[in-house]
């Protein structure tokens, strides 16, 4: 076990470093951080209240932060990503070789790793995982996207596995660090996606799933004999905590009140409103801006009204992003200045394109033939300019943000109806195309998320028309030259923002509330959490 600096908690060190270096990936803590409680202690239960349940406990299928917090702890990944530098570091893979054209990735696995069912980690298990993931289809779009274009996964020797792609795939190394490509035991891989969802999976992670009650709770217990943590972690061997209990408490106000009164130790998605309530309590707020695609309106670009780029651009100009960020979201949240968050590598500032300009919105709608009507809603050929925004209640900030957008669009003559869906309904709706616009974001610390979302070669949930954007997105995934990739990613962002396939609104800044007795609860590169080093004392 590595010795820790006695007087300073590791988290404080991390935070200090993050605040000072935070050029690429920033984070900050606020409130008083009580660091004087001495040495880390083993044992105890961490009770974490989250706002929603994805209805699934398979890390390869889950895409919702509240559920990732828990299922992430069950699986290990081949690699890990340093949240400060973005660098990929060893985890289950000791080392790796990448071919010069980024089509072949060879991973050298650690020996002695076992899954919680006792089976060992071998190259064959990794192959089984990577062979099964593309078959998840719409159930695991993220994981499937990471492996798109895979030619084969081959077992070189029992601890060496080689993944080859049909075309260059620069993003794949980062992808192996995500929860979506977390490695599950062969037995789990053989089960159906539905079974994995409802019963959970067997992983090699620092915690083991004990119980899952849908919409209510997820309980994890420490994995005995765990000794293959990420090279980034401070503690070697088993985790500190005995148990993790994630409880689903949908109301932000109840979560905040319960944290203050000490009923829970940590809470997720703390909004601006809760900050005031938590102030003064024995609570630390911990924030980090999520990389990836920002919160915004994902249009169904095939809908007759939204096929017209002028209408989409008008909506883009009618949204007052600053008002939304300042009213609803946690302190420090940035209005969107691109389709990517500023913490994503190769982000480009397109703030001028995303300026609030209602006059321009109105004139765009006028030229598109939508004339102002008597009741304030524009009409064209007797049809009212009205669209439905689907949303899921996975954060308390969603509804007020959308109500503001509703008001802002009403001001330029667009009628908005808000339709609340349940989390499990989201994917089927995206799949079926029975929607006008969906409110959401996707977290990923790699700009290739643009390809996952907007390439017409993949799921293409947003019904983007095929065209030049596809070429740009394919090229950025293929290029090995960082500067060239940067230029291509910039071009892709410009294209998406200019054509308004998506209306970026606000960056997601994850804000957790932690009791002051919780220590070393650190964000990973995707602003989710790893709880191996966390202790209570």
């Amino acid at each position: 076990m590595r010795a820790l600096p006695p007087a300073r908690s590791p988290r404080w060190t991390t935070l200090a470093a993050l605040v000072t270096t935070g050029a690429l990936l920033t984070a900050c803590g606020s409130g008083t951080d009580d660091t004087g409680s001495g040495k880390p202690r083993s044992g105890g239960t961490l009770t974490f209240a989250v706002g929603s349940d994805a209805g699934c406990v398979d890390p390869q299928q889950v895409g919702s932060n509240d559920t990732i917090y828990s299922v992430r702890q069950v699986v290990d990944s081949l690699t890990d990503q340093d949240p400060r530098t973005g660098k990929i570091v060893p985890w289950l893979a000791r080392s790796w070789d990448i071919s010069a054209d980024t089509t072949a990735f060879t991973f050298h696995l650690r020996s002695g790793v076992t899954f919680s069912d006792g089976s060992p980690l071998t190259a064959q298990v990794v192959k089984d995982n990577f062979d099964a993931v593309p078959k998840l289809g719409v159930l695991g779009t993220l994981a499937e996207g990471y492996l798109s274009g895979v030619r084969s996964t081959t077992v070189v020797d029992p601890l060496t596995v080689k993944v080859t792609f049909r075309q260059p795939n620069a993003q794949f190394l980062q992808a192996t660090s995500t929860h979506s490509l977390g490695i599950e035991s062969s037995a789990s891989v053989k089960r159906s996606p539905q079974q994995k969802c409802s019963d959970g999976v067997v992983g090699s992670g620092p915690f083991v799933l004990k119980q899952y009650v849908q919409n209510q709770s997820i309980t994890l217990a420490r994995r005995k004999g765990y000794a293959w943590g990420s090279s980034r972690w401070a503690k070697k061997g088993e985790a500190y905590l005995d148990r993790l209990v994630f409880k689903v408490v949908p109301e932000a106000g109840v979560r905040a009140g319960s944290l203050r009164s000490g009923q829970v130790d940590a809470i997720g998605s703390v909004g601006r409103a809760d900050e005031a309530a938590l102030k003064g309590g024995p609570v630390t707020l911990q924030r980090r801006a999520n990389p990836g695609i920002v919160f915004g309106l994902g249009f169904n670009n095939a809908r007759p009204v939204l096929k017209d780029a002028r209408v989409r651009r008008a909506i883009r100009s009618a949204v007052d992003r600053k008002q939304i960020a300042d009213t609803v979201f946690p302190t420090g949240t940035r209005p969107a200045t691109s389709v990517l968050a500023h913490t994503t590598p190769d982000y480009t500032d397109l703030g001028t394109d995303l300026a609030f300009d209602p006059a321009r919105a109105k004139s765009l709608l006028d030229t598109a033939g939508w004339k102002a009507g008597g009741d304030g809603v524009r009409t064209k050929d007797g049809k009212r300019l009205s669209l439905t925004i689907d949303w899921v209640p996975n954060a308390a900030t969603n509804q007020p943000a959308l109500e503001l957008i509703q008001q802002q669009l009403k001001a330029v003559g667009v009628q908005v109806t808000l339709k609340q869906l349940q989390l499990p309904q989201l994917t089927p709706i995206q799949q079926s195309g029975q929607y006008d616009a969906i409110w959401g974001n996707i977290t990923r610390a790699d700009p290739d998320i643009l390809r996952s979302s907007f390439s017409t070669k993949l799921a293409n949930f947003y019904r983007v028309p095929a065209g030049g954007l596809d070429t740009t997105l394919a090229a950025q995934a293929a290029t090995t030259d960082p500067a060239e990739r940067g230029r291509l990613v910039e071009r892709a962002q410009r294209s998406i923002v200019r054509d308004a396939y998506n209306v970026p609104v606000v960056e997601l800044q994850t804000q957790l509330g932690l009791s002051t007795k919780v220590h070393s609860l650190a964000f990973d590169a995707s602003s989710r959490i790893q709880l191996h080093d966390t202790w209570i004392g």
């Binding site: 932000a252 106000g253 409103a273 809760d274 009213t327 008001q407 109806t417 808000l418």
Partner: protein, 307 residues
């Protein structure tokens, strides 16, 4: 469904010779003595207050502009989470909207839903009861068994099943609540029809050879209506509660519509920092239901005893 178990319609049916003279709907031609009404009210300040609250609520639902000039849907986002004050009696919500204005405008939605619910229960339940009581025989048996079955399913479960089948929205929720209280209306209506049918004058007009519909329309319905109308006023209060419970659970109108139950369920997100978002709209609901129940009780018992 009904919040009160005290009212005992069967008991009224036991008094066979009670002249069929329903109180709340005085037959035309009889003048209510104004002085007596006033004296009756002055002796009951609670009732007077309740009537006042009801008048205000009804006014609010028809002319919200009389009470507030603020926009219930559009606020000043920079002024969110202001506590109750002179400018904003009920404070402001997460988007800086005036909560008092939202409650006032919400009265329209919530009262509309309640009205529909009571109407559905009154019409459907009343019809079932009248048919059962008037036709009698096997029709009575069959209908009353159906009513027993409806009564055996807890009202909220029945409403929830209907919401599952019909979908969300103010009107659908209202219909679901209304159907859940059909059974009690059917029972009361039947009991009344039976009572009136046996009354002497009905027997008399029957024996004179009057057609059945004439008997029904001229004698039975007007005389049986009273207790059913009293039940409707009682049902009003519990329907407000049921409708707001369903909209609290999220089955009412989508945002930003300020239904009363929805206001409270949205305020729940801010329970830790803005108590007024839940406490004050809830107070409005409680005051309205309390007033309705008080007035209904007066209609039911006190006024008739007074005479």
């Amino acid at each position: 469904m009904s919040g009160s178990l005290v009212e005992d319609p069967a008991g009224t049916a036991l008094a066979p010779a009670r002249p069929a003279d329903p109180v709340p709907a005085p037959p035309p031609g009889r003048r209510v003595d104004l002085r007596r009404v006033l004296r009756f009210l002055v002796r009951r300040p609670g009732l007077l207050l309740s009537a006042g609250v009801l008048v205000l609520v009804v006014l609010a639902s028809f002319r919200p502009g009389l009470f507030t000039s603020q926009d219930p849907l559009q606020g000043v986002p920079a002024q969110n989470f202001r506590g109750p004050s002179g400018a904003h009696w009920f404070g402001t919500d997460e988007l800086g909207r005036d909560v008092f204005s939202r409650v006032v405008h919400g009265a329209q939605l919530s009262l509309k839903a309640t009205l529909i619910a009571v109407l559905v229960a009154f019409v459907v339940g009343g019809l079932l009861g009248v048919v059962a009581g008037f036709v009698g025989r096997w029709v009575d048996d069959v209908l009353m068994r159906c009513v027993d079955v409806l009564l055996s399913i807890p009202a909220l479960f029945l409403s929830l099943a209907l919401v599952t089948a019909l979908g969300y929205g103010t009107v659908k929720v209202a219909v679901a609540v209304g159907i859940a209280s059909v059974a009690s209306f059917a029972r009361v209506a039947r009991a009344e029809v039976l009572r009136v049918r046996q009354a002497l004058f009905v027997e008399a007009s029957r024996s004179c050879g009057a057609r059945w519909y004439a008997v029904l329309g001229r004698h039975v319905l007007p005389n049986a209506a009273g207790p059913v109308i009293v039940l409707a006023t009682l049902d009003f209060g519990s329907s407000i509660l049921a409708v707001s419970a369903l909209s609290f659970l999220g089955y009412g109108a989508p945002p930003p519509a300020p239904e009363w139950g929805t206001l409270i369920s949205e305020g729940r997100n801010y329970l830790a920092n803005a108590w007024w978002l839940t406490a004050l709209p809830g107070l409005a609901i409680a005051a309205t239901v309390l007033s309705t129940n008080r007035v209904a009780r007066a209609l039911d018992g006190e006024w008739s005893r007074q005479r």
